[in-house]
């Protein structure tokens, strides 16, 4: 082994250990170590079967239905929409036919695919992981290369366990200094997207680094990597450290005994070498990030809770100006309105972005002893998180405060299971997209952290959670 290898980024190290074929035209056949599958992959199974192809590595493939299952029941026969029912029931059937492990509805391990992967220890440092869902970037928080693919590529991975990729560029996002009280991973990623724009990371893999990231829990890191796609990024990643290893140790699919020690030796070599270069580097000051709220219809439309809705006429260019004006019309908010003056109709705490135990604890700390004044849902990220929250008494805190404690699933993040808002309903949501119509036709979505969502639930408007908790 050469002792003088050039300094490399973590991305580069993972990439080059997964190259099956490098074509002279710049395309790479990349090996996929783990393939996660959800109920939306139904059509990929159908197409695979239709072509008479076998699923190559069922042992590396894991499924969990999450997109189409209602969260007020665990009985598949209760699914009213026949198309949805077919997709949910199809996963276990396809799993049984192909040998893929499926954490089915009713299994305590069932949950949102991007919560389940890390929780089961399927997601590990140094691996490549794909899933037919854009928020696959989440898993990069464990120190792996994880990205979302389309359904044709899902079928390609099923058949070949590989995916064709052009090597992306790299961007380092440095969070310098620890976050302030009441500021979370969600606020960090919204601040990043507000700074670089919803297309700021296009074509890049984003590595989040710096003391502000090192001080975060795994839950906070998963939230940040989750929304890399909202910054336009192909993937997000964070170097593994003691927090990663403590989180992973003892998880069902994590290496055990001597295998753990061997793996640890590999994992410790993963972080980006000093002197390695990135195509782009940006820095944000950790202590200056405030709790964030989105006011528009793109995740880049985010401001600190202490700010006001901006005036489109101050936008940099005509496209941005017209876009903002249109967004404010859709959202029904006027320029100059203080964020804390915006009243809300409903609260959703859940999604692959913010439904983990730490998220629920943060929301419960705000809800405790207070009353929700608008309909407010809590949708845990998995059956295991639900159990854990109940063991900690969080469900009781939420129920006493008038929140609705529901079953796991993607739910109102995107409404594919029928759980959507009403036109013009204004929702404080811990999910990842405030797109037009994302949570139902005409619904006005504001993205916030779980603590900020709980603060909105108990006050009926956006509120600075730092004051509420002071």
């Amino acid at each position: 082994m050469a002792a003088t290898a050039a300094p490399a980024t973590m991305f580069e190290k993972i990439w080059r250990t997964h190259v099956v074929v490098d074509r002279p035209d710049g395309y790479t056949l990349l090996y996929v170590d783990r393939h996660l599958i959800h109920d939306g992959s139904y059509f990929a199974f159908q197409r695979l079967k239709g072509r008479g192809l076998k699923l190559r590595r069922p042992d590396l493939s894991f499924g969990t239905p999450d997109h189409y299952m209602p969260t007020d029941t665990r009985r598949k026969e209760d699914i009213a929409n026949p198309d949805s029912k077919r997709m949910v029931t199809g996963l276990a059937i396809n799993g049984a036919e192909t040998g893929v492990t499926v954490f089915d509805i009713g299994d305590r391990r069932n949950g949102i695919v991007h919560v389940v992967g890390p929780e089961q220890g399927i997601t590990q440092p140094g691996i490549t992981l794909v899933c037919g869902d854009s928020h696959t970037s989440t898993h990069g928080a464990m120190g792996c290369l994880a990205f979302g693919i389309g359904q044709s590529e899902v079928m390609h991975v099923m058949a070949t366990q590989c995916v064709w990729q052009k090597k992306p560029k790299t961007m380092r996002v440095d969070i310098d200094g620890a976050l302030g009280f009441g500021v979370t991973g969600k606020d960090v990623i919204l601040a990043i997207i507000a700074k670089i724009g919803a297309a700021g990371g296009t074509g890049h893999v984003l590595e989040y680094a710096g003391s502000g990231i090192r001080a975060l829990s795994m839950e906070g890191r998963l939230t940040i990597c989750n929304m890399s796609i909202e910054a336009g990024g192909r993937a997000g990643m964070i170097a593994p450290d003691d927090a990663t290893y403590e989180y992973l140790a003892g998880k069902p699919y994590a290496p055990k005994g001597a295998d753990w020690d061997t793996a640890m030796a590999r994992w410790k070599a993963l972080p980006t070498d000093s002197g390695a270069t990135f195509d782009t580097e940006i820095t944000l000051s950790g202590p200056s990030i405030a709790p964030m709220v989105t006011f528009g219809t793109s995740p880049e439309d985010a401001v600190p809770v202490t700010d006001a809705v901006p005036d489109p006429s101050t936008a940099a260019d005509a496209v941005k100006r017209e876009g903002l004006a249109q967004a404010l019309r859709y959202m029904g908010v006027k320029p100059g309105t203080p964020i804390t003056d915006i009243r809300i109709d409903r609260v959703f705490i859940g999604s692959c972005t913010n439904s983990r135990i730490e998220d629920l604890r943060a929301a419960a700390a705000v809800a405790k002893g207070r009353k929700a004044v608008v309909p407010s849902w809590i949708v845990p990220g998995s059956g295991i998180i639900k159990e854990q929250a109940e063991a900690e008494g969080l469900d009781k805190i939420f129920k006493d405060a008038g929140f609705e404690w529901r079953e796991t699933g993607c739910s109102m993040c995107l409404g594919t299971n029928g759980e959507i808002g009403r036109p013009e309903e204004r929702i404080a949501s811990t999910s990842n997209r405030n797109f037009v119509g994302r949570q139902g036709k005409g619904v006005r979505t504001h993205l916030v952290s779980p603590a900020m969502a709980a603060a909105a639930a108990v006050t009926g408007h956006f509120a600075d959670v730092r004051k509420l908790m002071a």
């Binding site: 042992d59 297309a199 496209v319």
Partner: protein, 206 residues
């Protein structure tokens, strides 16, 4: 041995068609096909393209929406603002556009996954400089029903103003489109490489 000559779909060579302008930035795939239609079979999804922009609550078409205007009934190219089709990986955003007759998309930038998904479905996403896209949008708005000609072999886009732009495309993607190559069949040609990789990989096992 490789099997790079297995056609899976119609090759893409060129398209001359009416171009529809959607000038907003950050049009996401949820707008192209809202989540509530994603469980529909492909053939029944077709009328739901841009559903919420296109139709009123009572199901009547909104006359002002670009795709409802008669000039665009036969549109085959879409010209859009920056970061077109960002967001969700739903491949239906491509297929519903394809099933509505679109074969090429022109924008200053695209959502990464939509961009890949286009090639999986034999259609062409083209990146042009923002200033030129804004020019095209302006022409199309002034001359509803104007055509754009896209030619893949020469990598050119001819606008309604007669001006021709060159665009770049990865040779791999270009070749797959021109020959209608199926990636799965092509990858099977590398079976020996995949097997060799699997036999030495530490991470390709549970």
């Amino acid at each position: 041995m490789t099997q790079e000559n297995v056609p899976a779909r119609l090759p893409f060579t060129s398209v001359s068609a009416v171009a529809a302008p959607i000038s907003q930035a950050n049009v996401d795939t949820d707008q192209i096909i809202p989540g509530r239609f994603l469980s529909l079979p492909r053939q029944t999804m077709v009328p739901h393209l841009f559903r919420d922009q296109r139709y009123n609550d009572n199901g009547t078409p909104k006359p002002e929406f670009v795709l409802n205007r008669p000039e665009y009934a036969k549109a085959g190219i879409l010209v859009a603002g920056r970061n077109f089709a960002c967001g969700s990986s739903r491949e239906m955003a491509v297929t519903v556009l394809v099933d509505n007759g679109f074969r090429a998309f022109i924008a200053p930038s695209f959502g990464d996954i939509f961009f890949s998904n286009c090639f999986q479905n034999g259609v062409l996403p083209i990146v042009l400089p923002e200033a030129r896209v804004n020019d095209l949008l302006r022409f199309l708005l002034e001359l509803p029903g104007a055509e754009i000609a896209v030619d893949l072999p020469s990598q050119t886009v001819k606008g309604p103003d007669g001006k021709t732009d060159h665009f770049t495309i990865d040779p791999f993607r270009k070749d797959c489109l021109l020959r209608g190559i199926d990636e799965i069949a092509m990858t099977f040609g590398y079976e020996a490489d995949i097997k060799a990789f699997e036999s030495k990989s530490i991470t390709a096992r549970v």
